[in-house]
């Protein structure tokens, strides 16, 4: 038995070393070893080459020594006396050798390489002596060194091994090193598949990994969440909608819609590549955000208003809650340049960024026969948004196709209330042959008045975990709140005092999908909205005269709710699937 094993044995049985002070690799595994084939060993990089000497002083390429085998490569120096250092690596490799002497088929596919990082002392002859007692016919185990520190240095560098000589105070080398123990598992393709340090180095887990490579050849199979599905084809769903308004200057084409969709999901359209259009208008959340009342832009900047749904936005005659735009082609530049949304410093910045991408160059050329410009970028995004038409709902089939069973009797009662006692249709209009559910006008419901003019209660109830509520002082909340921005609605555009706190009437199509509601997302459910209107909104001098207490019964409210839930288009799933098939630009 070699000197190494005397050292090992003496260390292992020394009264100064307790079991707790020995590395786990010396003791039986305290957990069940993983079963080969049930887990992945992802590639950690390529094995690196270098010039090495075997114990007969023959020079080899390190990679050549790995050829055709699964390899365990350990770095040691022969005079290392730290029981949890180099001796541990050799001990573990020896245990593997012992085990595989009974599993020759596996043993024949494995090679052990032990390479010294102390070439001055560890000559080929020294390494030969070091390894002599470990070499047998069952397993190929080679003990290597290098010709010099100069030849060693790139190997250590490439395997990212930090090794430092320990010197005496007067600068003389003590013959000892500080180093982190590392053993590398390398597959037949010379890819590193695992790296073990002392805490992780155990013969049983190494054998599992070896068997995984020898028998199962596992590969990195990490799940990807956004695997691109086959893009479905979508039919227009226009029953119940008027003729699609399309500007003569921007006729819809497949190329423009597809380009617009690509832009819509590209986070690079924001200044710091974090926010795309789709981050606030989420396809799976009704092309709004169900998870927050008001939107959040670049660097988390607060946006005052709820992100409006984009379903059927083609029919809106004005855009934004305050109606400050009237063309989708122009509107897209608003969020792109707003400091609290996508925060781009200029149009040129956006266009330069897009035009520098090869894929966009081709797509714009295909759609417009010219690169991205202020005009073509707007036209592409507008085309995609214009394609998000959704109707042919149960309501549409009942009213416009006369399918008497399409709408439940409760929803039919809701419809009667909607156009009658409840007065909803005065703003959310329904016409003879179609319904956009918006009068395209501006109204004051009192929501903004309340938010801007009414003093809050001294405390607020917060849900800090599911069904765990606490009442918190507003002073505490205010200490971490940025100054709240005022919101005067349509007045901000018109400067007409009569327009204070007025907002555009939104369409109600797909309304069940687009919570939370109102311009500031302050009402979380449709029931909350119905209760709000049933109570007559927020009473104040400028409240829209159309809004007044409705005295609707719970049954009436339930009927209205059923009616609103019947306004969901039949192509939502298709639209969402199509949207999700678009790779996200990062």
């Amino acid at each position: 038995m070699s000197a190494l094993f005397f050292l090992l044995v003496s260390c292992l049985y020394s009264s100064t070393l307790t079991a707790a002070s020995l590395a786990p690799g010396y003791a039986p595994l305290t957990f069940t070893a993983p079963v080969p084939g049930t887990y992945s060993l992802p590639e950690l990089g390529k094995a690196q080459d270098g010039r090495v000497l075997d114990s007969q002083a023959h020079e080899h390429s390190l990679l050549a020594l790995m050829k055709g085998k699964v390899v365990l490569l350990s770095f040691i120096y022969s005079s290392c006396d730290d029981v949890n250092g180099c001796p541990l690596a050799t001990f573990v490799l020896h245990k593997i050798q012992q085990h595989l002497s009974k599993h020759l088929a596996t043993a024949q596919q494995l090679r052990l390489l032990t390479l010294s990082f102390n070439p001055e002392h560890d000559t080929p002859d020294v390494m030969g002596q070091y390894g002599r007692s470990f070499q047998n016919t069952s397993l190929d185990w080679q003990f290597l060194t290098t010709r010099s520190e100069q030849e060693l240095a790139p190997i250590l560098h490439n395997y990212q091994l930090s090794v430092q000589k320990i010197n005496t105070d007067d600068g003389k080398f003590t013959g000892k090193f500080t180093h982190a123990l590392k053993v590398f598992l390398i597959d037949e393709q010379q890819k590193i598949r695992n790296i073990y340090s002392a805490d992780f180095l155990h013969p049983e887990t190494l054998l599992s990994d070896i068997n995984a490579l020898v028998t199962h050849q596992t590969h990195n199979n990490s799940p990807k969440p956004h695997a691109t599905p086959v893009r479905p084809t979508r039919k227009p769903s226009l029953l119940g909608l008027p003729k699609l308004p399309v500007p003569r200057t921007n006729p819809l084409t497949k190329a423009k819609i597809e380009l617009g969709r690509k832009l819509f999901f590209d986070r690079r359209l924001s200044f710091n590549n974090t926010v795309s259009c789709a981050m606030c208008h989420l396809p799976e959340q009704g092309f709004t955000s169900n998870d927050m009342a008001t939107a959040v832009g670049v660097e988390g900047r607060s946006v005052r208003r709820n992100a409006p749904t984009l379903y059927n936005v083609a029919y809106a005659t004005t855009l934004f809650h305050d109606g400050r735009e009237h063309s989708l082609e122009q509107q897209v530049w608003g969020p792109l340049l707003a400091h609290n949304e996508m925060a781009n410093p200029s149009m040129a910045y956006v266009l330069d960024k897009i035009n520098q991408q090869a894929d966009y160059h081709a797509a714009f050329t295909h759609a417009f026969n010219k690169p991205a410009t202020m005009e073509t970028l707007g036209m592409a995004l507008a085309s995609y948004q214009r394609s998000l038409t959704s109707a042919h709902s149960a309501f549409d089939r009942w009213l416009y196709q006369h399918e008497s069973t399409a709408l439940s009797s409760e929803a039919q009662h809701g419809y009667t209330l909607f156009i009658g006692k409840a007065g909803c249709a005065k703003c959310h209009t329904i016409n003879t042959h179609s319904a956009v559910f918006s009068d395209q006008q501006f109204h004051n419901t009192g929501i903004a008045y309340q938010a801007n003019m009414v003093t809050n209660a001294p405390t607020q109830q917060l849900e800090i975990a599911p069904k765990v509520f606490v009442n918190v002082a507003n002073s505490l909340i205010n200490s971490v709140s940025a100054s709240k921005q005022n919101d005067l609605g349509r007045y901000e555009i018109s400067q007409n005092p009569a327009h204070r706190w007025q907002y555009k009437t939104p369409s109600l199509r797909n309304i069940a999908l687009t919570a939370p509601y109102m311009h500031n997302g302050s009402l979380r459910s449709l029931s909350d909205v119905l209760d709000f209107y049933n109570a007559g909104g927020v009473a104040h001098e400028q409240l829209d005269p159309l809004i007044k207490p409705l005295n609707l019964s719970p049954k009436d409210l339930a009927a209205l709710l059923a009616f609103l839930q019947a306004l969901t288009g039949d192509n939502v799933k298709q639209i969402v699937n199509e949207a999700l098939s678009e790779p996200i630009g990062n």
Partner: protein, 449 residues
């Protein structure tokens, strides 16, 4: 920024700083700031020379960029208590956590917003870290993971926890593995399989992420859970009053098989469990976490049947007032746990000698707000910084931004010095990591990298 050469004599440094090699027996366990490191990382058990402070840029202040700030904390240095270096990285990235590779040669610092990871060489000149690489492919390579948070060293690689995703900026996220060279390795999505729930009646299998810690001898990897980009980037007050947003916090700790990276069990830990800290002693098979919103200390422990369990073991302050526990630091002897509470700006010391019954034994107000705490290995020096998240920090005069050094005498914290990060035009001070020249000072180092 002026930089000044530290004046320590080499011999003094060598005596004051000892390096716990990875191969020493008591380095087998994970985890405080010197007591919070990854398993098997070289540790500073004596006097640290510097503290690296990963700092968020502030609009309107200085150069407005995120930066790695180096503070001289060695009392015998002429520049003790001063900023001796600052490396701006470009942009505001929501600088948050940072940690070393297993060889402690490089410091990886993540940006929760832009998803960049900045890699600093800290071994060539530990007093002057150098930005040597910026990883920009984190989202694309990982398959859509957003918000690189903990950068936790495993042998030859870094395990990085995400907080969000690029699909909806919600809380569903993953663990992402890179090798030490900065190349992507693999992605492991947080489990949402209800069959893994420790309590079958629980409603939680949220798939959220935050921190990660390992106990190799138990083949244990634990992850905690916070919230997605939409919330952690949102103005804190706006979020607190948004009932829907408040529903999107993590309520889970996940037990993983460390070797196979497979999720084994999901514990219900309601109220956003954040930092994970595992005990050091080999007979202490447990880790602590604290819940930010519900203000509790939770113990994740192995029971007598070798089954891992989770239990709430103490309240922190008055939970109804939302003190908001943030960073924690466990002592190297497993007897003390420092817990910072952001909203009241206090640090609290818990006696955890009985891990199942922590008792608060001390508290002190550090500032109007406080977030991170880092302890020296011997527990006599503690450092505090102020920033939680750019948009969660307090507003107005309470937005104090500082690095504060204290000495703990076993009874009281005694303040040694303060650096005002606003007065110095630096930004919001967040994560702290220790550096020491003696870690790298041995002549004839064999591996220039």
């Amino acid at each position: 920024m002026n930089t000044t050469q530290n004046s320590l004599r080499p011999l003094t440094r060598l005596l004051n700083t000892s390096l716990l090699l990875a191969t020493l027996p008591f380095a087998f366990n994970a985890t405080a700031d010197e007591t919070c490191q990854s398993p098997y990382m070289a540790k500073i058990t004596g006097q640290e020379d510097v503290v690296y402070v990963w700092t968020l840029g502030m609009e309107g202040l200085g150069d407005e960029q995120d930066k790695m700030v180096t503070v001289d904390v060695n009392p015998v240095s002429k520049t003790y208590g001063k900023v001796i270096d600052s490396v701006s990285v470009g942009g505001r990235n929501e600088a948050h956590h940072a940690d070393f590779t297993d060889d402690r040669q490089f410091l990886w610092a993540g940006g929760l917003d832009t998803n960049k990871i900045f890699v600093f060489d800290v071994h060539t000149d530990p007093l002057h870290p150098k930005l040597v690489k910026t990883i920009t492919d984190f989202v694309a390579k990982s398959g859509g993971v957003v918000g690189p948070h903990s950068t936790y060293a495993l042998p030859g690689r870094m395990m990085i926890t995400g907080l969000s995703n690029n699909k909806d900026h919600g809380g569903k996220t993953a663990l992402v593995e890179y090798n030490n060279a900065g190349d992507y390795v693999s992605t492991y999505w947080m489990p949402t399989d209800k069959a893994l729930q420790a309590d079958p009646s629980s409603v939680y299998a949220d798939g959220y992420g935050y921190d990660v810690r390992a106990l190799p001898r138990k083949n244990l990897l634990l992850t905690s859970s916070f919230t997605g980009w939409s919330n952690y980037m949102m103005d804190f007050g706006k979020m607190l009053t948004d009932a829907e947003a408040m529903k999107h916090f993590g309520n889970t700790v996940v037990q993983w098989d460390l070797h196979t990276r497979q999720a084994k069990k999901i514990f219900s830990v309601p109220g956003a469990p954040l930092e994970l800290r595992c005990a050091w002693k080999t007979e202490h098979n447990y880790c602590f976490t604290t819940t930010a919103l519900t203000s509790k200390i939770w113990l994740i422990y192995e029971d007598k049947d070798a089954v891992w369990q989770a239990k709430a073991v103490a309240d922190i302050g008055e939970p109804a007032n939302i003190p908001l526990p943030v960073d924690i630091s466990i002592s190297s002897d497993d007897t003390k746990l420092w817990v910072n509470t952001f909203m009241d700006g206090k640090t609290r010391l818990f006696d955890i000698s009985d891990a199942f019954h922590p008792k608060q034994v001390y508290e002190q107000k550090i500032g109007a707000q406080v977030n991170m705490v880092s302890s020296s290995w011997d527990g006599t020096r503690l450092y505090f910084t102020s920033s939680l998240l750019a948009n969660w920090d307090k507003k107005g005069l309470d937005n104090e931004q500082f690095f504060k050094a204290y000495r703990w005498d076993g009874q009281h914290l005694q303040q040694q010095f303060t650096i005002d990060f606003i007065k110095e035009k630096l930004g919001r001070a967040h994560q702290m990591k220790f550096g020491a020249r003696s870690l790298y000072s041995t002549p004839n180092t064999a591996t220039p990298r």
